[in-house]
């Protein structure tokens, strides 16, 4: 009827819940109605017998057991429509019966001893002679302070039982109708959930086949809406990162080819021979320089892949941050000098600043930042290293330049791997990504603020090592 799947599951759950509910209601209803019918009948006989017994004690000959009409009178007093009335003695032997027949034997059912003991006895069971289901209510009749007689009413429960059966059948029918109705409802309800899920499933199946340009359409609510949006976003991201990867490959190929072209050209030229030593030295110098550049590129990529796979091992010691910055400045001095750029350390702290970290890796971070600053700064401009204590536990290092800056739209992406604002500039596009991850490995934080045409400020926040003992401090290259 309904296809195997979540829809059928939902309908089935509805069905089970409603079925169990109805079943319990049905059982309770049947028991309650049965109790109601039986109790009413029992009470009817009981109340009549107490009333009649009272009347009999008060007005009918109490003291006249010798009166020939004693039992006839008693039968007339206690008589109740639609019942058989028996007057028993306290041993259960029949003294008089409304049926007119002589009784065959004493009555043994459980209601009689109960009545003989002074209580009201009730018994429901089958008459052995006729197989009819009957209810017997026996009440004791006190004469002279003792239970002398037992008034026993007997009524047939056959039509009550068939009525109860009818009622049960009707209520089962009603319950069945309700169940059918609810099941129909639940099919509709299930569809409202199943349709979007099916739609999302179809689209995601297409995505799995590689079609990332499809999108989930439709305005779904709650979890389903979120699921659709997430899937759409995921597809979009996949497309974008593919693009970045492609760009990277093309730029890295370019990066690799440029030095290789130089090396190949010069090595072939030198192979021809016949050059004076000066020219030969120049050629070899170029080959060495280009090889260094290749090695740099490959190392950068190695670092990156280590960081990616969480295999980067830091050699953590206590390092003097100022020393590292000074060394960094010395390393780039020559490069800056070429472009006429001035590098200056803006030191706002009197004492030495120490951090827990890998000195080489921290130097790599700052070298990368200052290298970028030089790369994107105009000639004869300046670059500032600012170092200041942000709080008791944190130190802030800023690399401030007055270069070309980064536009707002690119600012969010510069830290992504492989991203380059301008592919002509050379490089892998990994530098900032590596720096960022190295800073994070040092439990620090790196932020970039930039304005196009004004300059860029990269700030690195690092936790300060609390110095307890001067002996702890060691040299950064140790």
């Amino acid at each position: 009827m309904i296809k195997r799947g979540i829809g059928r599951q939902i309908v089935l759950h509805y069905f089970i819940v409603v079925f169990v509910t109805l079943f319990m209601v049905e059982v309770i209803f049947s028991l309650a109605i049965r109790m109601y019918y039986y109790d009413t009948i029992k009470n009817h006989m009981y109340v009549h017998s107490t009333w009649a017994s009272d009347y009999f004690q008060k007005f009918v000959r109490l003291n006249a057991e010798r009166d020939p009409d004693y039992f006839t009178e008693m039968l007339r007093t206690f008589e109740l429509d639609n019942t058989e009335l028996l007057i028993l003695n306290n041993k259960g032997e029949v003294q008089a019966s409304s049926s007119g027949f002589q009784a065959d034997k004493a009555i043994q059912t459980s209601d009689v001893p109960q009545a003989a003991a002074g209580n009201v006895g009730t018994w429901i069971g089958r008459q052995t002679s006729t197989g009819e289901t009957v209810m017997a209510v026996s009440t004791p009749l006190q004469v002279r302070g003792e239970t002398r007689y037992i008034v026993r009413y007997l009524t047939s429960l056959e039509s009550v039982n068939s009525k109860l059966m009818n009622l049960t059948l009707v209520s089962v029918g009603v319950a069945g109708a309700v169940l059918a109705l609810v099941t129909l409802f639940s099919i509709g309800l299930a569809n409202s959930i199943v349709k979007p899920i099916n739609n999302i499933r179809a689209v995601s199946a297409q995505m799995a086949k590689g079609k990332f340009d499809v999108r989930i359409k439709g305005n779904y609510k709650y979890e389903l809406g979120e699921l659709a949006a997430t899937l759409n976003y995921m597809a979009q991201e996949i497309v974008r990162s593919n693009q970045i990867k492609d760009d990277f490959i093309s730029s890295i190929s370019h990066e690799l080819r440029t030095p290789l072209t130089g090396i190949k050209g010069w090595s072939e030229t030198l192979k021809l021979g016949g050059f004076d030593p000066e020219e030969t030295e120049l050629g070899m110098g170029i080959i060495a320089k280009e090889t260094d550049r290749l090695i740099g590129l490959v190392e950068e990529m190695l670092d990156f892949s280590k960081l990616q796979q969480n295999e980067m091992k830091l050699v953590i010691t206590v390092v003097n941050l100022k020393e590292i910055l000074q060394e960094t400045m010395l390393n780039v001095w020559a490069k800056a000098e070429q472009k006429g750029i001035q590098i200056k350390l803006d030191d706002h702290i009197e004492r030495g600043i120490y951090v827990n970290g890998d000195g080489n890796r921290l130097k790599q971070v700052f070298l990368n930042l200052v290298d970028n600053a030089i790369k994107f700064s105009a000639e004869n401009s300046w670059i500032h290293f600012v170092i200041k204590q942000q709080s008791d536990t944190q130190v802030l290092v800023e690399v401030v330049d007055s270069g070309i800056g980064i536009s707002h739209e690119h600012l969010n992406k510069v830290k992504d791997r492989f991203f380059q604002v301008n592919h002509q500039g050379g490089g892998t596009g990994l530098g900032l990504a590596i720096s960022q991850q190295l800073v994070e490995l040092h439990h620090g934080q790196m932020d970039i603020h930039s304005e196009l045409g004004v300059g860029t400020t990269v700030s690195v926040m690092l936790p300060i090592h609390e110095i307890k003992d001067e002996g702890e401090v060691s040299s950064p290259d140790g």
């Binding site: 010798r66 009166d67 027949f101 009525k163 109705l181 309800l189």
Partner: protein, 419 residues
């Protein structure tokens, strides 16, 4: 989802209400009660009788010992049950009729109708009185007025016809074997009001009833309020007649069958005098009849006779004449009775300050020491006293308690007179 479910539930509720409230689905349980079916055998018997008597009414005998109207003995001793029923046709010349049916395979076949006497069926017994092994029908009739003479009829049935073998006037009749010859005889008590009474015993012999003994009693009374037959002594059988005179005074005759004659063993009324209609009978269940008397407790001689009734029972004895058997305190309103322990007789009396509706003290005659109390409590009072007192009887608003200072326990049990 939830909304949907709730809506469904409401819809179902409404539907259920409509279905259950409107039509006749739920009925008053009382209207569904039915008289239980009789067994098919009885049912068919009733049907056959009803169609046979054509709208007349089946009647019950006015008899305490058995008020059933339809009886099924084997009347002609052929191994097949017969049914006997009496019915009345109020407008016909003969008012009461009997009907005998025979059981044939699974159905009942009407065999004989026979005429009864009078207007009312007084008693109706099935006993073999003719000594032929076949039960006979002994029926008593009246014209409806209790004071008028009753008529006794004995019918026999041989399988084809009903013979009336005896008709007698009577006031009381007793079926017993007074002369100990293993044949039931019938003893008829007749009373000419305010003149005399006659007791006559008949026995069936050679096809008819013969009078075997008779005695005339000089009883200028209104009625014998109780007659009982049985053993007077372990060997002698007889009857006891309780005769009422005056407003509620009474005395008894003990008449024994001795050597084929009826003998009045206590011709003097004094020894059996009672100021309440005490019933004679086998009070202690030993198979021998006792004569009842009422006695004043010691100390009450100057009080009216009606105040405190102690009922005493005596057996007749050849030597002692009257042998004490037991004594009973009877509440005059019939709320309870109390059998006094046997050793109290002659030793214990009821204190004269006792009020039979409030409080009774039983005290020793010689020392005045209390031996027991009977007291009426309200139901709330009873809650406080019930630890020490034994429950004697209880009615709607009163509890009657018994407190014993000796070994004596409540003694009511089965020792009331058998009737």
């Amino acid at each position: 989802m939830m909304a949907g479910k709730r809506l469904t539930a409401r819809l179902a509720g409404c539907l259920l209400l409509i279905v259950l409230s409107g039509c006749s689905l739920i009925k008053d349980p009382k209207s569904l009660m039915e008289t239980p079916q009789l067994t098919s055998d009885k049912e068919s018997l009733i049907n056959v009788i009803n169609s046979e008597i054509k709208g007349a009414n089946i009647i019950r005998p006015r008899d305490v010992s058995d008020v059933s109207s339809i009886r099924t003995p084997d009347l002609n001793n052929d191994g097949v049950k017969e049914a006997i029923v009496f019915y009345e046709t109020p407008d016909a010349a003969v008012r009461i009729h009997g009907l005998i049916l025979e059981h044939h395979e699974d159905t009942w076949v009407p065999k004989v109708h026979f005429d009864g006497e009078g207007q009312v069926l007084e008693t109706f017994e099935i006993r073999d009185i003719t000594g032929d092994g076949r039960p006979d029908i002994i029926a008593g009739f009246t014209s409806g007025d209790e004071d008028l003479q009753k008529g006794l009829a004995v019918y026999t049935y041989d399988g084809n016809k009903v013979d009336k073998v005896l008709t007698l006037p009577y006031n009381h009749f007793l079926l017993d074997d007074l002369n100990n010859n293993n044949l039931l005889d019938i003893t008829v008590v007749n009373l000419k009001r305010d003149q005399n009474g006659t007791v006559t015993t008949y026995e069936f012999d050679n096809g008819s009833f013969k009078e075997i003994a008779t005695i005339q009693l000089d009883d200028p009374i209104k009625e014998y309020y109780n007659t009982v037959s049985g053993n007077i002594t372990p060997k002698i059988k007889g009857i006891i007649l309780d005769a009422a005179f005056g407003t509620h005074y009474a005395y008894s005759h003990v008449i024994a069958m001795i050597d084929g004659n009826l003998v009045d063993l206590l011709p003097s009324q004094d020894s059996t005098f009672k100021n309440f209609p005490v019933l004679s009978g086998d009070v202690d269940g030993d198979g021998i009849l006792e004569v009842g008397r009422s006695e004043k407790p010691r100390g009450w001689e100057s009080f009216s006779y009606d105040d405190i009734p102690l009922f005493s029972y005596y057996q007749w004895d050849e030597k002692e004449k009257m042998k004490f058997v037991m004594q009973q305190y009877m509440d005059l309103s019939g709320r309870f009775y109390f059998n006094l322990p046997k050793d109290w007789w002659g030793n214990v009396t009821i204190d004269t300050k006792s009020d039979p509706n409030e409080h009774l003290w039983f005290t020793k005659i010689d020392s005045g020491e209390k031996v027991a109390e009977i007291r009426f409590f309200s139901i709330s009072e009873w809650e406080r006293y019930k630890i020490d007192w034994q429950l004697l009887a209880r009615d709607n608003d009163k509890v009657i308690g018994f407190l014993s200072y000796t070994e004596a326990k409540i003694n009511k049990g089965e020792k009331e007179i058998k009737r």
